[in-house]
Symmetry: C2
Subunit: 160 residues, 2 copies
Amino acid sequence: MPVATLDKTDIKMLAALQANGRLTNVELAEKVALSPSPCLRRLKQLEESGVIRQYVALLEPAKIGLGLQAFVRVSLEKRGGGHLENFMEAVQRWPEVVNCYAMTGEMDYLLQVYFEDLEHFSRFVMDDLLQQPGVEDVKSSFVLKEFKKTTALPISHLGQ
Amino acid sequence: MPVATLDKTDIKMLAALQANGRLTNVELAEKVALSPSPCLRRLKQLEESGVIRQYVALLEPAKIGLGLQAFVRVSLEKRGGGHLENFMEAVQRWPEVVNCYAMTGEMDYLLQVYFEDLEHFSRFVMDDLLQQPGVEDVKSSFVLKEFKKTTALPISHLGQ
DNA sequence: TCTGAAAGTCAATACCG
DNA sequence: CGGTATTGACTTTCAGA
């Protein structure tokens, strides 16, 4: 995947949109000292090249009853066909799982998962995770506090 | 933090905005079978109550030269004043760190961090992390593959 | 590549069932 | 709670520098 060539104005645009994805083109143009027309052209370019992947609304977990966040390490049986495939299909289906990573180190998978409470967590592990063919072991850690929480990637390292 | 009371229409709105944060009010109203005016009133309510925390643009890490993602576990000295405070200030400052959690289990901290490459990672650990007063130990795992990656929280568990 | 103007669309408000 | 109508602002496109 090629790295895009971005100038100072593009970087300012990305910083502004990472902070507020609903900025109008006129507002964005003001922030980067451009008139709306070329600003819009640059924006379309950033979207079409895939530098901007998506615009989303972020919800507050506690306000929708998701008071519990966990990281769950799952070990899959190494032998036996299709376990990984089936597991990943299930992961896509389970709405509680927001992220799933394969990591270096141990040959297992790291899930980031939201729950309403411990009972919900328990049901998820018993009824979903451990019912899934190939799942050998499950180890969970819960988030006590989030000290930093952002979706904004660093961009200052890019060009001028 | 109180849990908001949301009806079926609110839930549809949240689902739509988690998938596309730049939907216009008219588009959103069509999706939830409402006219624009009450739709906008509901939207403002969701924003003001804090259910919608923020709108953001998500960038593609690989397209901006961030090909390496890691989880870093940091142990802080338990004795000695202000280490945690100073560390958290530094964490806010370091742009590579997108998330920082205190977890159950071991009394240490989990960072989610983006890097350009291993040399960037090395510089971060040597020049930033290990120079920070109170940092005792650092253990890193790298992301080999992301099987699921979303910011959309589950909302189907809420009312009708 | 930017500016500026023109046409269509949308946000935001007021008002009414 | 819902819908309609209005005004001003914004998006989008195109011609020209």
